[in-house]
Each structure stands twice: as C-alpha cells, then as structure tokens.
C-alpha cells in the first residue's frame, strides 16, 4: 500500500502532485483536519471575544507550568518521530524501531499528563457543564470556558491517542521488516499525521493557556 513509487511506476500517468498517492492522500486528509480544528478553535475565539468575562486569566485556573512541560514533551516526540523517519530513509531498521518506541512513549506520557490535568481540574470543580465551575471559582456562569477548553483539548487528545494506536501498528510492521530505504511510505505518513497533531497543539497551547 505504501510504496513510494511502485504502484504507479508501470503506468506512467500524468505528473500529478509529484508525490505518491498515500502521501498525497494524507496531506489532503490533513487539510480537512485543519477545517475541523478551525470550527473548534474558531468557536472558542468567537465565544471568548463575545464574553471575555467568562474566561479566566492565564494561569488562574489552568496549570501553565505543567502544560508547558507537556508541550515540551510533545515537541520531543516530534523530533523522535522525525528521527525514526530519517533512520528508515537510510535503511536503519534499528534506529526506526528505537525512535518509534521513543515517540510512542512520549506520546503516551503526554496523554497521561493530560488525563492527570483533567482529573485535578475536575476535582477543583472545573468541568464542561454549566454552573459548577462558577461555584468553585466564583466566576459567574462561566460554562463557556469549560465547554470550549475540554472540547478543544479533548479532541486534540483523541487525535494523539489515535496517533499512538496507529504508531503501534507501524512499529509492528517495522518489527516484521516491512519498511526499507526505498519503502518507507507508512512511516512517512505516520510522521505527517503526528507532526500535524503537534502543530495543532502548538496553536492550542498558546491560545488556550497563554492568551
């Protein structure tokens, strides 16, 4: 499925996008992801603009240092992912497996921290539903904050989780020796997805935690 050239080599089609199908497909899929996160982040921006008083100052409710650290973890996972890709382009099977495993661990750690953060916040009364959060923090009717926060970070977390599951699959195939220096499509599109999710987090972190 994920051979860079083999599937089309015998057909000599038109030049097209000059990248192989699976990779092009992944890019196109990511465009739709951009629009999906536009809907969520856009709603947040708009609701916050309309009701600024519902949203707490940076750091007042959310734990910025913890999440900054978590952001760093995700960035590390991006570099390990790209190392895995670089390894297999050189035919380095060991490097591929090693860096994939590192990426999986970092990703899992990220999700773990996020779940931990949710639990702490929920214990403080910060939940997506109306009213409750107002009680705990004496910010009246601040339901919009909770709703947007959990929806955005939750969907991002879901994306990371799906990414981790796919990465296990890639790792399994790597173990079977399915990838090589001229057959690394699966690793590459896995990377594209992973970096995209990282990219979204970079935006989310700034908008949700810092502004």
């Amino acid at each position: 499925m994920s051979q860079p050239a083999a599937s089309t080599a015998d057909r000599h089609p038109m030049p097209g996008m000059m990248v192989y199908n699976v990779k092009l497909g992944m890019w196109i899929f990511l465009l739709s992801e951009v629009m999906f996160f536009t809907a969520l982040i856009g709603s947040y921006i708009i609701l916050r603009f309309a009701h600024p008083d519902h949203f707490a100052e940076p750091g007042a409710v959310l734990n910025v240092p913890l999440t900054a650290f978590n952001t760093f973890v995700l960035i590390c996972s991006s570099v390990s992912m790209v190392k895995a890709y670089a390894a297999i382009t050189q035919g380095d099977q060991k490097g591929l497996k090693f860096w994939l495993l590192v990426t999986i661990l970092l990703g899992t750690f990220f999700v773990g921290v996020q779940v931990y953060e949710y639990i702490i916040l929920a214990q403080e009364g910060f939940v997506p539903m109306a009213e409750l959060y107002g009680v705990a923090h004496e910010i009246e009717g601040a339901a919009l904050y909770g709703a947007t926060f959990y929806t955005m970070t939750g969907f991002h977390g879901t994306h990371v989780t799906i990414g981790i599951l796919c990465m296990w699959f890639v790792l399994y195939r790597a173990w079977q020796g399915k990838y090589s220096a001229n057959n690394y499509g699966g690793v590459e599109i896995m990377g594209l997805y992973w970096h995209f999710v990282d990219l979204v987090w970079i935006i989310l972190f700034t908008i949700v935690y810092l502004i």
Partner: protein
C-alpha cells in the same frame, strides 16, 4: 525528499522550538497590554507551527504545488473567524 545526502538538523529545530516555548511562557506573564501580549504570542506560535510544517513535515523538500495545496484552507479559516467576530 529529505534524503539528499546530509540529514537536516532536526535537533536544531527541536532546540528552537524549545526556546520559543519557554519564551512564550515567559512573555505571557509580562505586564503588557493585552493586544501586545496576544500579537506577540500568536506570532511566536505561528513561527513554531511553521518550523514544524517546513522541517518536520518536510514541506521544504516538497514540490511547490504541495505547498499551495497545504495552504489552501487557511484563508477560509481566516474568513470564517473574522466575519463572525464582527458580529459580537
């Protein structure tokens, strides 16, 4: 593809991303007017996002038409948000 002999300096990018993240967190808590904070933070975030897209998603080594494709939804996102913002 990235492969032309030398490997791109992935760790350098990683380091810049790390520094930018630290800078963002520091900047966010400065006593500056809100608009200045927001613009500065957004600029830094976009910078980081671009670094990821260009180097880690290796757009730098892709044909130009893929660039255009990748950028195509961004105007739509801007149109939607700006238009609706004028409502409130």
């Amino acid at each position: 593809m990235a492969g032309n002999g030398e490997e791109p300096r992935y760790f350098l990018i990683w380091f810049i991303l790390f520094v930018l993240t630290m800078a963002e967190v520091g900047y966010a808590f400065l006593a500056l007017p809100q608009w200045l904070l927001a613009t500065g933070l957004i600029l830094m975030a976009l910078w980081k996002a671009l670094l990821v897209a260009i180097y880690y998603m290796h757009l730098k080594w892709e044909p130009k038409r893929l660039w255009i494709l990748a950028a195509s939804p961004l105007p739509l996102a801007v149109i939607l948000v700006i238009a609706v913002l004028t409502e409130f």
